[in-house]
């Protein structure tokens, strides 16, 4: 599905015009909706009546955009994931999506100074050569939903192909991967999809690709030698969740060989309390804010533990009931939940980061040249932090 036609207006800053990709991106949009503006132009008033999802801004980034994932409160474990915020916001409409409320900006932003971004990335990665990084572009937007994101992804795949200690993760809810299949990725790109049962996609993930097309795209990616990842996040509580998620996992393994899956994340629905009213306002027919949610230790609303624990247990059991199962982890869950579902928990975020590297080293020989050492992770630092 092409999401370009969702944009009603495209702003291009004067400096972004000088970047080579800008012309390529603009060629996808009719000139009548394009406006060239000074770098410091404040267009907020121009677009106050427009949904930021329908306004595109092509600009050069100001400051660092390669960063550590902000994660959540330290009561819950996070995986020390790193992000490249080249794309900010998403043209698709998921009822539960935090981005539509989290990003306080008037437009969907695409940064066009790719060379500077890659230079920033390389210089930061080089400072920790013994650590293996997982870096994604799908934190503040979908990695593949907009042409400008896809152009970045294509160049990033080539850049990461030559980086010995990093994996690029492109996370998406789209199904068009044709343009990526022939690229030289050198096994250093993971193509990832968020997954939910078809019924939940239909009711909550509007304008995204349906389940089977997502899995078919993943199948093609695997055939092209890419590693895969899947994110069961957010897991939603439906009265028939057991059936829905069981069938989803059956469908996943019907399409995908588990041995090609680098990792699978699990995370149940969670959002800041202030988002509840906004979801109801924006999606009046959705029932997801009315589930049994409590305020977690990080202040976010999440399903009560007696509710989410059985869901996690079933999903984990199903996912691991195959030979050589993928590495499975929780996104923003408590050590208690880890222990209750997996029987063990990482000691801390750095340990979880190490567990990823260790799993990749063991399961995908040749991907990481040296056996990962725990100390490099314990002493590691986020890409947006400078060591003391």
């Amino acid at each position: 599905m092409n999401h370009n036609n969702r944009f009603q207006r495209v702003y291009i800053t004067e400096s972004a015009l000088q970047d080579s990709v800008t012309g390529d991106i603009l060629s996808k949009f009719p000139s009548r909706i394009q406006r060239i503006v000074p770098d410091d132009y404040n267009f907020t008033a121009d677009v106050c009546d427009l949904d930021p999802k329908t306004v595109l801004l092509l600009a050069r980034s100001q400051g660092d955009i390669v960063k550590g994932c902000p994660g959540t409160d330290k009561s819950y474990l996070c995986c020390n994931y790193q992000v490249i915020n080249q794309t900010q916001n998403c043209p698709m409409h998921c009822s539960y999506c935090i981005l539509q409320f989290y990003l306080n900006q008037s437009a969907t932003v695409l940064y066009t100074n790719f060379d500077e971004i890659f230079a920033e990335l390389k210089s930061k990665i080089e400072r920790q050569p013994k650590r293996f990084f997982r870096i994604g572009t799908g934190e503040l937007g979908d990695s593949l939903a907009i042409d400008g994101s896809v152009l970045f992804a294509k160049q990033a795949i080539r850049v990461f192909a030559e980086m010995p200690n990093a994996l690029l993760e492109l996370k998406s809810k789209t199904a068009d991967v044709e343009g990526l299949l022939h690229l030289e990725h050198n096994g250093h790109t993971v193509l990832a999809w968020s997954l939910n049962p078809q019924e939940i996609i239909h009711q909550n993930e509007f304008t995204t690709a349906q389940l089977i097309p997502r899995l078919a795209a993943a199948q093609k990616a695997a055939e092209a030698g890419y590693l895969l990842a899947f994110h069961f996040d957010p897991i939603l509580f439906y009265p028939n969740w057991e059936k829905l998620y069981s069938e989803l996992i059956d469908e996943l393994y019907r399409h995908i060989d588990p041995e090609r899956i680098a990792w699978i994340s699990l995370g149940s629905l969670r959002f800041p309390p202030s988002m509840k009213e906004k979801i109801i306002e924006r999606y009046p027919n959705t029932t997801i804010p009315y589930s049994e949610m409590v305020r977690g230790m990080d202040g976010k609303l999440r399903y009560a533990r007696p509710l989410r624990l059985p869901m996690y247990k079933l999903i984990y059991q199903k996912l691991t009931a195959v030979p050589n199962p993928p590495f499975i982890y929780f996104c923003m869950e408590s050590p208690l939940i880890w222990k209750e579902v997996f029987g063990k928990a990482p000691e801390n975020n750095a340990h979880l980061d190490f567990m990823f590297a260790e799993s990749l080293y063991r399961r995908f020989p040749g991907l990481i040249s040296e056996k990962p050492q725990r100390i490099h992770y314990n002493e590691g630092f986020s890409l947006d932090a400078l060591p003391e």
Partner: protein, 311 residues
């Protein structure tokens, strides 16, 4: 140039007491004396009150003189309302229902929402959003007992606007609850839960309340009002959070099996995000210490372990 208000000295008999055109605000006769300034508008031979209706019921003689701020007959409604609202909010914020009445008057006079927003929103401290006008206007459909309750409890705007999600018919079901005078927080908890259950279970309010025996419980004269509120609150919570409630009941049942001395307490996180118990002892005397010592038998430890497992 717009006609401006001017000071004047009037007598009571110059006031048209039957003209309540601008009588939009709740009477403050119980709690306030005269407003600081009487605002009037010329209307034919007489004057209509814009602000200061208390003067009508003050029992003053017809020849009594008072200072006033007087708008000319051709002053625009919006100009008058801006002055009126400015005067009012200086004394205290408007109740949402009063804001709604102001908006209604503006709409009735064919004034655009944009003008309303530009002129009055800053005075009212509202964020520029035309949707808000319609949301406020919904307040005019609240039933009288609900309006009275929300005013008395000084409810937040959020609560006022939330109640508009209930139809007038559904609002009347809430009157049984209001009659028992619940605290505002309990009222908010119960009504928001009722609303959310209906949405989640695709039920009408009538169906839900019938299933919960709402009226029977709330009008049970054999129970004290506080007890009725407690029971309905529990029933609503149980329906809103069925799994959590069952889990809590299991924990409480296990907890009751532990014979705790009266100087001891066991506490747990009732959201169950933490699986931990806290044992508290109040130790004043040697007897208290003996009770603690005697408590930790193998049997008690086993039961505490079971409680921990149940969390």
């Amino acid at each position: 140039m717009k006609p401006a208000a001017k000071p004047a000295v009037l007598t009571v008999d110059q006031i048209d007491k039957s003209d309540h055109h601008y009588d939009l605000f709740l009477s403050d006769s119980d709690e306030y004396h005269f407003t600081d300034t009487i605002i009037v508008q010329k209307a034919g031979r007489d004057y209509r009150i814009v602000d200061g209706f208390e003067i009508i019921n003050a029992g003053l003689p017809d020849h009594y003189q008072f200072p006033a701020v007087c708008f000319p007959e051709n002053a625009s409604v919006l100009t008058i309302l801006r002055t009126l609202v400015e005067t009012r909010v200086k004394k205290c914020p408007l109740f949402p229902i009063e804001t709604a009445r102001v908006f209604q008057m503006i709409r009735d006079n064919g004034i655009s929402d944009i003008d309303l927003m530009e002129i009055l929103f800053p005075v009212l401290g509202l964020k520029a959003d035309t949707m808000l006008i319609d949301r406020y206007l919904q307040l005019l459909f609240l039933t009288k007992p609900i309006v009275t309750y929300l005013i008395k409890k000084n409810a937040s705007v959020k609560t006022w606007l939330f109640i508009t999600k209930f139809t007038r018919d559904d609002q009347s079901d809430l009157h049984d609850l209001i009659r028992l005078r619940p605290t505002l927080s309990v009222f908010e908890e119960i009504v928001s839960s009722l609303y959310e259950i209906q949405k989640r279970e695709s039920l009408t309010q009538k169906e839900l309340l019938t299933q919960m025996q709402w009226t029977t419980l709330l009008t049970d004269e054999n129970l004290e009002p506080k007890e009725r509120i407690r029971q309905i609150r529990n029933a609503v919570f149980r329906r809103r959070f069925p799994l959590l409630s069952t889990h809590r009941e299991n924990v409480e049942k296990t907890l009751r099996r532990i014979s705790l001395p009266e100087n001891a307490g066991i506490h747990y996180d009732d959201t169950f995000e933490k699986k931990e118990l806290q044992l508290h002892w109040l130790l004043n005397t040697e007897t208290d210490i003996d009770k603690m010592r005697n408590f930790y038998t193998d049997d008690a430890i086993q039961k505490i372990q079971l409680l921990l497992d149940t969390l």
